[in-house]
């Protein structure tokens, strides 16, 4: 191999850079802690179970978006036949129950905790008015 020295050196530098998050945390003694979210009081079950919501709430919201805006269909029937209005606006409840923000009414203490931890910036909040909770 030509330039063996330079290539191996380059590969080592690359490895060092790409594993930076791992060894830097170890050296500086910082630990990564999972996010602590504040669940709404008094409610135990969301639109679907926790595991589903954790992995699928983004897709669910996108489906809801198209159902409401493009399909003019506004009620979601969950698999256990509970109904929810499909909405990312407002905290009020209708006779079909409340939507996301009726329960999750504080973006800082719920939504942002996981999103900030994962450095995710969903742009939903550019338009949908964020719930401020008990402020």
């Amino acid at each position: 191999m030509h330039d063996r020295g330079r290539i191996i050196l380059g590969l080592l530098v690359f490895l060092a850079l790409i594993t930076f998050p791992i060894w830097y945390n170890l050296i500086s003694g910082q630990e990564s802690r999972p996010p602590e979210i504040e669940l709404p009081a008094g409610e135990t079950l969301c639109v679907a179970d926790r595991e589903f919501m954790r992995t699928e709430h983004m897709q669910l919201l996108m489906d809801w978006r198209d159902e409401v805006v493009r399909g003019d269909r506004r009620i979601y029937t969950a698999s256990d036949n509970r109904t929810f209005p499909m909405s990312l606006s407002g905290t009020s409840r209708t006779e079909h129950g409340g939507s996301c923000m009726s329960c999750h009414d504080n973006k800082d203490k719920f939504c942002d905790r996981c999103h900030d931890y994962l450095a995710v910036k969903p742009y939903c909040w550019d338009c949908h008015v964020e719930p401020k909770g008990g402020q």
Binding site: D66, R74, L88, G90, T94, E95, D126, C127
Partner: protein, 258 residues
Amino acid sequence: MAIKRRDFCWLAGLSVVGAASGKVLSVGAEETSGSGSTLIGEPLLGKRWAMVVDLQACRKEEGCRDCIKACHATHNVPDLDDPDEEVKWIWKEKFHHAFPDQEHEYLRHDLRHEEILVFCNHCDNPPCTRVCPTQATWKRPDGIVMMDWHRCIGCRYCVAACPYGSRSFNWRDPRPFIDETRTDFPTRTRGVVEKCTFCDERLAQGRPPACVESCESKCLIFGDLEDADSAVREALRTRHAIRRKPGLGTQPEVYYLV
């Protein structure tokens, strides 16, 4: 090394394009399945929503802007002073601006000097929906020309295509300019086009459009043209109505009782 650098670069580029298009095809194939229905408190259902504006009733209140305030408040429409950047869903125009093809020297005094309420005409043959490259605006089966602010790419082709100037573009972030943000309706963001949507979210709850509800002179009549007993059909039976720029073939569904 047997492969030449140029060929390697081409292969790499083509692989990226190939991988991306595979993803694209799979994304395009995902359909949103519907498990929703329309019933929130008996929605108003129609086949051809239309509005009748009674210009004689409207003129009874000088300087009244109740409908404009109701619409803009309900929908978090920003209040930008600069006429170059303003966003408006409903506003008042002079007669010769609203009806340039009806203008003449001897207009009736009230038509000459008072202002006409204008907003999206929800045309039957809308030029704006035809030109939208993403179908971010489209005509619903019930007649409403609807907006999807998630999909709009802000190309403003619809603004160019609208013969009535009904559409506004968000030239900057609208939020600082909203007088009082209501939480039950989203705002929009910079870079998308917006306009009157005949209050589709209120119709779904069985309520008439905000402007209609707010008008104390009852000069805005909203209804289904396909329903022979509707208030709009009744109004059109009794008085002569004109529409804006009828010669363009857009078939506007806002009728003005002169």
